[in-house]
């Protein structure tokens, strides 16, 4: 018989082991699924997890995919630490892409070093506007941010589609739903020659360091953590709850917006309807898989980026459906939540023992 038994205190070993265990269990389940699909499971795993990064080109592409996920996830980690459940990184990313594109298209002929910063700031602002709406609704009207941010995702997607089919459509684009290509000055510089690794990755790594300093060294970060763990204590110490909530939501929205503008001004180079294959949603999984810790999030976003690439690879070379990526993401989160139970509980394997019943109890049973 398997029994869950409270540990009494949280196991910190298990807290770090749980994401690893979740990853391993996901792989094992993957093996089973591949076998059932009639694919050689080992070959499939190699195709998904190794082939995409088996050469320098692959590694470079990994960085390209990691950048937006990392930016979204590191921002979300701040909100999640404050127990503010921003599920809207996807929408904030899209709005970042849209705002950035608008500025880039206005400045399509412009040249100069100032164009790109303007585009990036517009992108960050786009994300902040979107998360800011949820923040106002939460702080002023006490709405549940989980619901509002999810709903705002769909609004963002439709606003983006409207823009790309309407005002921002390239007049010379043969009526395709695409904007014109951005000017050279609005594009993110390439960091490594002959690859698509762009400045967005540097921004993402900088954001990781900045958030790490914020959360572990600054008093503001400390207040955010206290508010998340124990709102009563934060109130009693006079921490400004509303201000902290605005800050956490605006920061995560701004970084998601930056991720969005990084895509349109980076590898894509124009505004198209599909600027994100769900990076904003994947970032939620990444944030938790990385234990809301900057280093963990960096590792988890690399893994998530690999899953995106592996899914495409499996589609190309094995003919497996692209939904595989989503399935792996889902399993990862599922196993992570399951394994997290082990942080506070331990598994006791008990032989189903027959309790030796004292004769006295038998006696009372017959009488009762």
């Amino acid at each position: 018989m398997i029994k869950l038994e409270p540990r009494g205190e949280r196991s910190s070993t298990m807290a770090y082991l749980s994401p690893v265990l979740a990853a391993v269990l996901t792989m094992l389940t993957g093996l089973v699924v591949f076998t059932l699909l009639g694919v050689d499971p080992v070959e499939a795993l190699i195709t998904i997890l190794y082939v995409p990064i088996s050469d320098t080109h692959g590694l470079a592409e990994l960085c390209v995919k990691t950048a937006p996920i990392l930016l979204c996830a590191i921002g979300l980690s701040v909100a999640f630490k404050a127990k503010i459940w921003n599920i809207g990184a996807e929408g904030q990313l899209l709005m970042g892409g849209l705002f950035g594109s608008y500025i880039a298209l206005q400045l399509i002929e412009a040249e100069g070093f100032w164009v790109l910063p303007l585009v990036l700031i517009a992108g960050a602002l786009g994300g902040m506007v979107w998360s800011g709406i949820a923040a106002i609704l939460k702080v002023r009207f006490n709405t549940n941010e989980i619901l509002t941010t999810i709903m705002m995702n769909y609004i963002a997607l439709n606003v983006l589609l409207w823009a790309v089919h309407g005002p921002l459509k390239d007049p010379e684009g043969y009526n395709f739903p695409e904007s014109a290509l951005f000017g050279e000055s609005a594009l993110l510089p390439i960091l490594i020659d002959n690859t698509r690794v762009h400045f967005g990755m540097a921004l993402a790594l900088f954001a990781v360091v900045a958030v790490w300093v914020l959360m572990s060294r600054s008093f503001y970060g400390f207040q955010i953590k206290v508010m998340g763990m124990d709102a009563g204590a934060a109130r009693l110490s006079g921490f400004k709850e509303k201000r902290l909530a605005y800050f956490a939501l605006l920061l995560s929205g701004g970084l998601a917006g930056l991720a969005g503008v990084g895509e349109v001004a980076g590898p894509i180079g124009q505004l198209i309807p599909q600027i994100s294959p769900g990076y904003g949603y994947a970032a939620i999984i990444v944030a938790f898989l990385g234990r809301l810790h900057p280093v963990g999030i960096l590792l988890a976003s690399l893994l998530m980026a690999l899953l995106y690439m592996g899914g495409e690879m499996a589609q190309i070379s094995l003919g497996l459906p692209l939904a595989l990526t989503g399935m792996f993401q889902g399993m990862l989160l599922f196993y992570l939540l399951a394994c997290d139970v082990l942080i506070s509980f331990r598994i006791r394997l008990k032989p189903k023992k027959i309790t030796p019943t004292p004769p006295s109890i038998l006696a009372s049973d017959t009488q009762g």
Partner: protein
């Protein structure tokens, strides 16, 4: 066949219960005879709660057996316990505020409740018979805490009851209500019902109980006939020989007001909260003012107004010395020199999952632990170490999580953290609630020291003995109104009890406190 004396109503033999990291009950033996009022004495954490949960079927013991009327039995769950005739009144009531007395009792009884009409009639009969008048039609939120307790007791009595377990029943009652309760309990026992009375208040045990079993750290440390013992000898059984059990402190009166409240009125945002009415209060430098009161009479609201969690409409309603602070936020009040020890140690006083260092920073951030927005962790660590050393906090290190500390140790840490910031005003809610006698004495001494250094201290507590021990002036809060505050030597326990019940007329003078 020889005629045996009747077997005990309940016998416990060698009950042991291990929790992770804590042996809550260790080989406990206990006999309760029919019609006996038996005290289970012990400090918080001695294992009383676990033991009664074992009896009530809420917890399965690891070892040992229960005998009911001489026959071994396994109590499967509380429903089974109720069928056997065991009733239990918990310290924290489980009543639905918006339902009536009858509906609540019907819910608790489940299938045995029957129709509401006859049940209401039965409730009326039973409550009248035992002198605990309650109206079955009233909704719970209109009842005082004492009345709610009656509902819980009546709930047990409408069934055929053979053993009534009461967990710290007097902690929510005024002294007068305690006397009434005792009359009821004696009548019940007289009719043959056994009563297990769980308490740590020695005077009450001595006044009420026929026998007492004393627990200390999960074991039976002694048994006695309370009437034959004095309270000191029973206290020694409870806490061991090495802890001093009582002291007295000289009383002082100050004359320069540091904390003043002028006509504070407040409508609580909580629909079941208490409205504060015309509260006027002054605490002078160098004195401790104690406010007694039954829980839920406006203490929370008053404390929130003083801490700044609840702002006043008028800035002048609360003044620190001559500075109006009514509209200031908690951190601004702290900047002025306020320190605050909240009632909930985990969850407001300390963040459970944070280390002691982080918890030192939680309110100590104004004492140079933050520079240019960055936390000076080395200084925060040093501050935490200082608190741990000076207040003898038992912990493996400053890295330990707050929730890994025992209640008493964490309270010492919180009190230490507040006092070491050299506050000019300290407000402490229930400073020794659930704390063992040793830690309570240390906390009292720390408060007295701070007073002698010239701070103004306000203590809000339900423990009247504590308030008489440390307060220089004393009063009570009832239904959101504050009684006149009197110098402690001029007050008395009966007078304070009347004030806790809302009778603020100081004219009648009874006997003086011993």
């Amino acid at each position: 066949m020889k005629q045996n004396p009747p077997p005990p109503r309940l016998t416990l033999r060698g009950i042991s219960k291990q929790y992770p990291g804590c042996l809550a009950n260790d080989d406990i033996h206990l006999d309760i005879a029919p019609a006996e009022i038996h005290a289970l004495l012990g400090e918080n954490g001695a294992g009383k709660s676990t033991l009664m949960k074992v009896i009530y079927g809420l917890v399965k013991p690891d070892r040992g057996e229960l005998l009911w009327d001489g026959l071994p039995i396994e109590v499967k769950d509380p429903a089974h316990a109720r069928k056997m005739g065991i009733g239990m009144v918990f310290q924290h009531f489980s009543l639905f505020e918006t339902l009536t007395v009858t509906e609540n009792i019907a819910l608790a009884l489940g299938d045995d409740a029957g129709e509401l009409e006859p049940l209401a009639e039965k409730i009326r009969t039973v409550s009248e018979k035992y002198g605990m008048a309650i109206n079955p039609e009233r909704e719970i939120h209109t009842l005082s805490v004492g009345e709610r307790q009656r509902v819980e007791i009546v709930r047990c009595l409408v069934q055929n009851i053979k053993l009534l377990i009461l967990d710290e029943p007097t902690s929510v009652l005024t002294p007068q209500e305690v006397d009434t309760l005792f009359v009821t309990l004696r009548q019940l026992a007289h009719e043959g019902c056994s009563i297990l009375f769980i308490s740590h208040k020695l005077n009450e045990v001595k006044a009420l109980c026929h026998k007492a079993t004393v627990l200390r750290s999960g074991r039976v440390s002694g048994e006695c006939i309370p009437a034959d013992e004095d309270t000191t000898s029973m206290a020694k059984l409870m806490v061991g020989d090495d802890t001093p059990v009582s002291t007295t402190y000289p009383k002082k009166l100050g004359n320069s007001p540091l904390l003043s409240v002028h006509d504070l009125n407040l409508n609580s945002p909580d629909p079941f909260g208490v409205q504060l009415k015309h509260i006027n209060l002054t605490v002078n430098a160098g004195e401790i003012v104690g406010i007694a009161g039954v829980a839920g009479n406006g203490q929370e609201e008053l404390l929130a107004s003083l801490s700044g969690e609840q702002r006043c409409k008028d800035n002048k309603t609360i003044t620190f010395a001559d500075t109006p602070v009514g509209k200031l936020s908690p951190d601004k009040r702290r900047e002025w020199g306020l320190a605050f020890v909240p009632e909930e140690r985990l969850g407001r006083g300390a963040v459970p999952e944070m280390s002691l260092t982080e918890n030192a920073l939680l309110t100590g951030f104004l004492t140079g632990l933050v520079q240019n927005g960055m936390v000076a962790w080395k200084k925060a660590e040093a501050f935490a170490d200082d608190i741990i050393a000076q207040y003898k906090v038992k912990t493996p290190s400053r890295q330990a999580q707050a929730d890994s500390l025992s209640g008493g140790n964490l309270q010492k840490f919180i009190i230490g953290r507040e006092i070491m910031q050299n506050p000019r005003i300290l407000i402490a809610a229930h400073p020794t609630w659930g704390v063992d006698i040793g830690a309570a004495t240390a906390i009292h001494k720390a408060l007295i020291n701070l007073r002698d250094q010239g701070a103004a201290i306000l203590v809000v507590s339900e423990d009247i003995d504590e308030l008489f021990l440390i307060s220089d002036r004393i009063g009570a809060i009832c239904d959101g109104a504050l009684s006149p505050i009197k110098p402690t030597p001029e007050s008395s326990i009966p007078e304070l009890g009347r004030m806790m019940a809302g009778d603020f007329n100081p004219a009648r003078e009874e006997r003086v406190t011993p």
